[in-house]
């Protein structure tokens, strides 16, 4: 019989942040009146030889109050403009819980490298959900999420730095 017995550490955290500007895909700045954001994260830390976390991963997903809103072209007598489906920020974040699973890929390699310095000697897996009332649809532009939420990532990194040390 073979037995391997390993521990991984699971840290869940959530916090709020208020954005005052967003960045679009062309680098343009958009100043925000409503920029409430809430983040919920699952961070798993394990030894480098932990069998199921062989590399560091950082994944974030953004969900906005505009997610169910789409642009209707006004065909067949419909009104041209945004459809209904806009919800309030309170409705968006109601009863939300941190992710329950590991991230399976990385979409923020810069944050991953910074966390690798912080958690040197361990492997980690960060799965992050950002709930936000900021959406490019509102401004008829596509947002650059990496740049728009950079201050949120910086806040998370700072908080983790405090916690870990």
């Amino acid at each position: 019989m073979i037995i391997k017995d390993n521990i991984s550490r699971l840290i869940y955290f959530d916090g709020n942040y208020s954005l005052n500007r967003a960045i679009d895909s062309n680098g343009g700045e958009i100043f925000l009146e409503k920029g409430q954001t809430r983040y919920l994260a699952r961070l798993e830390l394990a030894a480098p030889d932990y069998p199921e976390i062989s590399e560091n991963q950082v994944l974030f997903d953004v969900f906005t109050t505009w997610n169910d809103v789409y642009w209707q072209k006004g065909n067949h007598g419909a009104i041209r403009g945004f459809s209904s489906g806009l919800i309030t920020f309170e409705e968006l974040v109601r009863e939300k819980r941190p992710p329950q699973k590991r991230a399976d890929r990385t979409n923020h390699s810069e944050l991953r490298d910074e966390l690798a310095d912080l958690f040197a000697g361990n492997h980690f897996n960060l799965n992050l959900r950002i709930y936000s009332e900021v959406d490019g649809k509102e401004f008829h532009r596509n947002l650059n999420n990496l740049k728009t939420y950079q201050s949120v990532f910086t806040d998370i990194l700072g908080q983790l730095n405090n916690y870990w040390s």
Binding site: D5, L10, F13
Partner: protein
């Protein structure tokens, strides 16, 4: 920022077993020449207040050396070249993910009696040389192996492994230190399994054809 700091404990068990008989879904008992089985178990334990394991699961999958044997409609027989030798079969990696449901309620109940202070997620691979197609070319449910009944001795062995480990001195929650495996026991060599004597390669085919025309 709110922080909740908890842990999860991951146990991997692996072992070998020699089965002497198998049972089909048609309630037929088949004595086995080659009943080598290797089990690979992933058992995750988490505190009762954790957010991710909210119930106990007991799940297993059976993988056989016949898994890639196709039916050849030309010769109206199975293409036995697809049989993977047991030695080359998936014998190394236990499941890497949690079970998402239970397909062995009795096993789940037995484990629940052993593991009372945490939720558990049991996911096992049973790697086996036993496949219903070996014994009949009739592709119907009657000739399929009744996995739960056939592998019951294996499940009993797994539960015994887990019971003995959980009651051992090595298993103590207060010893938990992140970054240090609590215990690693060296793999048991495959030679402990009884391997049937080498036979000519076409013997299984002959045996199969004999069954086909009986």
């Amino acid at each position: 920022m709110l922080i909740k700091d908890t842990f999860s404990r991951l146990l991997h068990f692996a072992g070998n077993y020699n089965l002497e008989e198998a049972f089909t879904k048609g309630r037929q008992r088949i004595p086995l020449d080659d009943g080598r089985v290797r089990y690979l178990v992933r058992l995750e334990l988490a505190p009762l207040d954790n957010q991710e394991l909210r119930t106990n699961y007991g799940h297993y999958n059976v993988h056989t050396t016949w898994g890639h044997v196709p039916y050849d409609f030309g010769t109206k027989s199975y293409d036995l070249s697809g049989i993977i030798p047991f030695e080359n079969f998936n014998l190394g990696l236990p499941p890497q993910k949690r079970a998402i449901n239970t397909n062995h309620l009795q096993l789940q109940a037995e484990l629940a009696e052993l593991i009372t202070e945490s939720y558990f997620d049991f996911n096992a691979y049973i790697c086996s040389t036993i496949d219903g197609r070996q014994f009949s070319n009739r592709n119907n449910q009657e000739s399929e192996i009744d996995n739960q009944r056939t592998y019951q001795p294996v499940f009993t062995a797994i539960v015994n492994d887990i019971r003995s480990y959980l009651s051992s001195d090595q298993f103590q929650l207060e010893k938990l230190v992140l970054g240090e495996p609590v215990l690693v026991v060296e793999p048991e060599p495959l030679e402990t399994l009884v391997k049937p004597e080498e036979k000519d390669q076409d013997v299984p085919l002959k045996r199969f054809k004999k069954l086909e025309f009986d």
